[in-house]
Symmetry: C2
Subunit: 82 residues, 2 copies
């Protein structure tokens, strides 16, 4: 299954609990699109979130994030990894 | 040790071997700054590379990448992870 990294801006000051809630909102519906969000990392000073996911397409990842309330256009397909 | 994600642009068309060479250039000198680059992911269509690292500071990560020949100003400290 293809792997993706997506990037969110504007999460300045978000707490660990809020990140977990956002991630749980993805996990609750991700099966609808055969997506799985493996991990999310937050820099609360810069307001950046990075999510690592697998799924059938970039659009599927985007739809789950949008339905969960945190849409982003910045999704990258990771075809090489070291 | 703090954890960091950094982002590189302009890696359009880069191959798996070229990404490995770039990553190896980091690994060869990272101990000088007590940095460790754990993983790197590439989207060769968008030209984006994401590197996950640990180290004492953002500046230490930036110095290793710069000395290895692929500087980036986009380094984010990941204080929260789910």
């Amino acid at each position: 299954m293809p792997k993706f990294m997506d990037v969110h801006d504007g999460f300045v000051g978000v707490t660990a609990e809020q990140l977990k809630d956002a991630h749980d909102a993805d996990l609750a519906i991700e099966r609808d699109e055969e997506v799985h969000f493996e991990r999310a990392w937050l820099d609360p000073v810069a307001g950046k979130v990075f999510c690592l996911a697998t799924g059938p397409s970039k659009e599927a990842v985007m739809r789950i994030h949008a339905r969960a309330g945190h849409p982003t256009p910045d999704v990258f397909e990771l075809t090489v990894e070291v």
